[in-house]
Amino acid sequence: MSRLLTFLFRRLPIGWLQLSHSKGRLFAAIAGVAFTNLLVFMQLGIMGALNNSTVAPYALIRGDIILSSQEGNTLTDSGNLARVFMFQALGVPGVVAATPLYIGNLPLTLEDGSSIALLSFGLDTAQPGFVADVIAPDMARLVIENTALLDRDTRGLPGDALARITTGQPFAFEASGGTLTAIGTMAVGGGFLADGMMITSDQTFLRFFKSRTSGAPDHILLRVAGGLSAERVVERLRAVLPPLIVKVQTMTGAAAADLAFMSTERPTGIIFGFGVFMGILVGLVIVYQVLSTDVADHLREYATFKAMGYDQPFFLGIIFEEALVLAVFGFVPGFIVSMGLYAGLVAVTGLPVVMTAPTAIMVFVGTLVACTLSGAIATRRLAAADPADLF
């Protein structure tokens, strides 16, 4: 390590030598930075899972434009929209197809008496082009009443039930006083809103959600003519549909808006964002404490170096060298432990907690910046190193 740093800095690695000389302090500092990394990674991981589960339903549906109620917030937290707007939209040049989308949370009762909540999507089976390609071939089978495609990553779903469905044997569940039969599976995963997801025909959906009517879907999905810009058709639709009632968005725009809403409007998003901020703050304080104590403990040595003719950039270099060492050495264990905890969280909750390369790089760069910032604050103590006091 000393040789590498000597090669990098082209001088003795004073910062590293100082830190490694006090093993206990070095260990405490690295543990502190690692813990900070762990805090930030966990907050970002859960926030990422929240974001992933927010946009995961979009993977089930296809469409260029989505019409929603202005009262709604996200795809799954929506108001109802009069189906008449679908017919109006079909009259707008560029719109070639439309279908209503019904969404609801359905509790299912399992054979052992336990229950799981499924986010249910009701769609017109005659329009398989509005669902994901992997699901589209199965849509025709949902014409049979009270049948559903079940999310095989659903939390709490018994293994034997899943085995039966995947081997082609239907599996019946109790739901809302009726019997629902799973005839196939798809892979989406659980989220914060439900244990898993389910797709049924619109007719089956309305049968199990008795308070809902076909004339008031949650959203209306539209497809535009090939080669036509969805944004341009959105503008046309906004000119036709009442803006106070109907929200017109592209599908990608709606997903981005959902993410923004969950991150900035929902308490959960704000809480996790605050958690990240607190993690960074804790890291700043820990590194500042370590570095400023280190400066205070070595004031005589620094004053000696000043007397010898070393200038301010040299001292700043030592502090930033220490900050770099702490950032790198703290990041590695923080990252490894976080990976382990992510795996544990996925196993226990089924939440889509994923470590992505951009997140890891962002946290590492953030750690470097935070450590450097702490170092910069700690250098203020260097002013106290007066070589005249040495005599």
Binding site: T6, R10, R11, L12, I14, L17, Q18, S20, H21, S22, H298, R300, E301, A303, T304, F305, K306, A307, M308, G309, Y310, D311, P387, A388, L390, F391
Partner: protein, 231 residues
């Protein structure tokens, strides 16, 4: 000869404290120290010898009067100019002030690397040579914690001398050394003056080395009370 003097002090006054607590530590001091000489500053505690040393070594700001070091007037000199001057000096402190996490060699290397990265192998060889001259050839990789007080002081001397300074300021350099070692160090400083023209200003109470001085200046209450040339 006068113009060649590396240190010239004229009408130097210095004060500590402010307001009613302000106390004058030096009174109208005038000194000219010639190149290659070994000058010893003596005097009781509080007589102002350390203040003179720090003012000459550009470690303290000149308030009144003039101090010229290696041809540069220190009063009003900028930080960059002072840093550049300090690199031409060598300091030996009573309390050695070695860096606890650096080995003897690394501490001495600090005296060289202040001038830039340089050739690492040559610098290392120079550090080992200097430590060898001071009888520490078998201690080059020791940390200060594993050295005796005298050995630490000799490492500090090596650190001050390794970069061939033009002026050396020393504060009780032989205090932590036994008689023989203390004399070796001061003889080395004396030889540097004779061979290379290095000027040494030393504060000491060690009577064992007075015979090596070219000049002995005694201060009392901030004034020169005696200025002799024993040789």
């Amino acid at each position: 000869m006068e113009n060649d003097a590396p240190i010239r002090v004229e009408g130097l006054n210095h004060y500590f404290g402010q307001g009613e607590a302000r106390k004058q530590a030096l009174w109208d001091l005038n000194l000219t120290l010639q190149r290659g000489t070994l000058t010893i500053l003596m005097g009781p505690s509080g007589s102002g010898k350390t203040t003179v040393l720090t003012l000459m070594g550009c470690l303290r700001e000149v308030q009144e009067g003039k101090v010229s070091l290696l041809g540069h007037d220190l009063q009003g000199a900028g930080e960059a100019a002072l840093v550049a001057l300090r690199r031409r000096l060598g300091f030996i402190f009573q309390a050695h002030n070695l860096h606890e996490s650096l080995t003897a060699t690394q501490n001495v290397l600090m005296g060289l690397q202040v001038h830039g990265p340089g050739d690492a192998a040559k610098q290392r060889a120079a550090a080992h040579h200097m430590l060898g001259l001071l009888g520490l050839a078998d201690r080059v990789d020791y940390l200060p914690a594993n050295l005796s007080g005298g050995q630490k002081q000799r490492v500090a001397v090596a650190r001050a001398l390794v970069s061939n300074p033009e002026v050396i300021f020393a504060d009780e350099p032989s205090a932590a050394l036994d008689k023989a070692s203390g004399r070796v160090v001061v003889e080395m400083l004396k030889a540097l003056g004779q061979k290379r023209g290095v000027t040494t200003v030393m504060v000491t109470h060690d009577n064992r080395i007075m015979d090596l001085a070219d000049r002995i200046i005694t201060l009392e209450e901030g004034r020169v009370v005696s200025d002799t040339n024993p040789a």
